[in-house]
Amino acid sequence: MNAEPTLERIPRGNALALCATGSWTAGFAPRLERLVTEAEKLAGGRSSISIDVSQVSKLDTFGAWLIERLRRSLTEGEMEARIAGLSVNYASLVEEVRLVKAAPDAETPTVTISGMLAQIGKTVAGISGTVIGLIDMLGAVLVASGRILIHPRSFRLTSTVHHLEQVCWRAVPIIVLITFLIGCIISQQGIFHFRRFGADIFVVDMLGVLVLREIGVLLVAIMVAGRSGSAYTAELGSMKMREEIDALRTMGFDPIEVLILPRMLALVIALPILAFLGAMAALYGGGLVAWLYGGIDPEAFLLRLRDAISIDHFTVGIVKAPVMAAVIGIVACVEGLAVQGSAESLGQHTTASVVKGIFFVIVMDGVFAIFFASIGM
C-alpha cells in the first residue's frame, strides 16, 4: 500500500501522458511536491495532456490537490489537461479539491522606519489613555464602595477574606524572608564601610531610618505587585476571555462590586500588615548581623535605635502602604479587564500589570518623599 510515488512521462507525438503510481499521501508530500513542480515545467505547445491516476494505490487530500494543481498549470488556452483513470472512491475527493481557489496571501506586517516611529508616537500618546483608564477605574471603585456603604449587605465578605488569605497570609513567609535578608545586607554593608571612620554605631541610624521610611514599604510593595498584581490580572483576564465577566453583568451584578472591590480591599488591608512585618524582619536581620558581624550587642543596638528613630519614621512608612496597595490593585484590575481573546494578550497584560504597578509604586514613593519633606516629617 505504501509504495513510493512516481510520475512517469509517456510522450505520444505532441501529446503527453503523465502516469502517476504509488501512494500519493501526506507522508510523501515533500517528494510529491518535487515531482509535480518538475512536471509543471512540461507545459507549452502540447496538443493534449492527460494525467493517468489509475495506478495510484492510495490518495488523500495532499495527493489529490497536487494532481489538481498539476492539471491546472498544464492547462493552457483551449487545451485542457485531463485527469484519467480516476476510481469512484477518489472521485469525490478530487471534486472537493477542484473547488479550491488560490490561497489568499498572509498579511505580513512590514517593518519600516516610519512605522517604528509611528509606533513610538502611538505608545507615547497612549500614556494619557493609560492614566485616564486608571482614574476611571479609581472612580468606579469609589462609586462601588459608596454603594456598599449605603447597602452594607451587598458587601462580599467571604470573597474579601479569601483574597486576604491569598495576598496577605500566604505572602508572609516569602516577604519576611526577603526583607530579613535585605536587612542583613544593609547592616553588613553599613558596618563594612562605616568601620573605616570608626562610626560603626551609626549603622543603626541608617538601618532604622531606611527600613522604616523607605525600604520596608517599597520592597514589600514591589513584591506584592509581582506576586498578587500579576495574579489579579491573570484571574480577571482569563475570566474576561471566557466571557465570565459578561455573564456576571447580564445577571445584574456589577463586576466592579463582585470581583474588583474585594480584591482591592484585600490588598489595601494586606499591604500595611506585610510592610510592618517586613520592616520588623529587616530590623531583626540588621540587628543580628550588627551583633554577629559588627560586635554591636542587642542591648546597645536597641538603645541606639530608640534614640535614632521616632514614631514619625514609622508613620511615614506605613501611611504610604495603603496608597501603594490601591495603585497596584487598580493597575492590575485595569490590565485584567483589558485582556483580549488570546493567550498572548493575557501574557502581555500580565507583564504590563507588573511593570506598570512597580513603576507607579516608585512614582508614588517620590511624590510622598516631596510631600513629607515639605511638611517636615
Partner: protein
C-alpha cells in the same frame, strides 16, 4: 471521466481501536471499570451515555491524556503502552482530534492553526501549506477569507469547523470527535453531520464520535456504543439500540425527543 465499478477502499472489518479491560480511577471514584470496545476500520461509531458517565474520559484515555489503572489499548494494531516513543509518534500522526471546545491555539491565526501540524511533520513549501489550508477550509465549509482571523474573532460553529480542519490537516485515518455538534444550531449541526459523513466517504476515515445529539446518531453513525456504570452496556446498530430492553436505552431511544427525531 471513465467510471470503473466501485470497489471498497478498505478491508471491511478490522478493529482499528481495540480497548481491553480498561479501568480508570480518579481518587476513589472508579470511572471506567473493565471496559472493552472495538472500533472498526471505516465506520462512524457514535458513543453515547448519561452525562458524567465517562465518555470524554474514555476518549482521553485512548488518546493517552488520562492514565489508566489497568487494561490495554491498541490503535492501528500498536499497543500504546508497549510502544516506543517513536512508534507512538507515528500513531499520533495518523489520528486527529477535535476537542469539545475546539482547543484552537488562541495566539495563532486560523491559517497558522491548520498549518501547524503539517509544518511540524512535513517539509513542504509555504505555497503547498497555503493551498492545503484552503482545501481543508473548503472541506469543512469555510471560505478562505477567514484564514487570517484569530480564534477569538470566530463564532462557535466556525471554531468547531476550524478545529475539525486542523484535526484533518495531516489526512488522518482516525478522527476522534468530542461532542462535535454541541453548541451548534440544528441546521449547523445537521450540516456538520453531513460533513462528517462526506469526509468519511471521501477520505475513508474512521470516526469515533462522542455525542449527545440524537440526530447525529440517526443520520451520521454506522454503529452506536452505550456507556453506563463504567462499561459498554450495548453496542450495535440503531435498530439494535431500539430493540434493547435496558432501562436507560429505552428511555434514551424511546423518549419524547427520540420520537420527535424519528418522526
Amino acid at each position: 471521466m471513465t467510471q470503473p465499478a466501485p470497489t471498497p477502499i478498505l478491508a471491511p472489518v478490522e478493529a482499528i481501536i481495540r480497548v481491553r479491560d480498561i479501568t480508570v480511577q480518579f481518587g476513589k471514584t472508579r470511572v471506567l471499570d473493565g471496559l472493552n470496545l472495538d472500533v472498526r476500520r471505516g465506520e462512524i461509531l457514535g458513543f453515547v451515555g448519561p452525562s458524567g458517565a465517562g465518555k470524554s474520559v474514555l476518549t482521553r484515555t485512548i488518546i493517552g491524556l488520562v492514565p489508566k489503572v489497568s487494561g490495554s489499548i491498541e490503535v492501528f494494531g500498536v499497543d500504546l503502552d508497549a510502544a516506543s516513543t517513536s512508534a507512538r509518534r507515528a500513531v499520533e500522526r495518523r489520528w486527529g482530534i477535535l476537542f469539545q471546545q475546539g482547543a484552537l491555539f488562541s495566539s495563532l491565526t486560523v491559517r497558522q492553526n491548520i498549518q501547524f501540524p503539517v509544518r511540524e511533520y512535513l517539509k513542504v513549501s509555504q505555497r503547498l501549506l497555503d493551498e492545503i489550508m484552503v482545501a481543508k477550509l473548503g472541506m469543512v465549509g469555510l471560505r478562505p477569507e477567514v484564514a487570517d482571523r484569530f480564534p477569538s474573532e470566530l463564532s462557535g460553529g466556525m471554531i468547531k469547523r476550524v478545529a475539525l480542519a486542523r484535526a484533518l490537516a495531516l489526512d488522518p485515518e482516525l478522527v476522534f470527535l468530542d461532542e462535535p455538534t454541541s453548541g451548534l444550531d440544528p441546521i449547523g449541526a445537521g450540516d456538520f453531520d453531513e460533513l462528517v459523513r462526506t469526509l468519511q466517504r471521501t477520505l475513508g476515515l474512521t470516526v469515533f464520535m462522542v455525542t449527545h445529539d440524537l440526530d447525529s446518531l440517526y443520520t451520521a453513525c454506522d454503529r452506536i456504543a452505550v456507556l453506563g456504570n463504567g462499561k459498554i452496556i450495548a453496542a450495535g446498530s440503531m435498530a439494535d439500540m431500539q430493540a434493547s430492553q435496558h432501562p436507560w436505552l429505552r428511555q434514551y431511544f424511546h423518549g419524547k425527543r427520540a420520537r420527535a427525531v424519528m418522526g
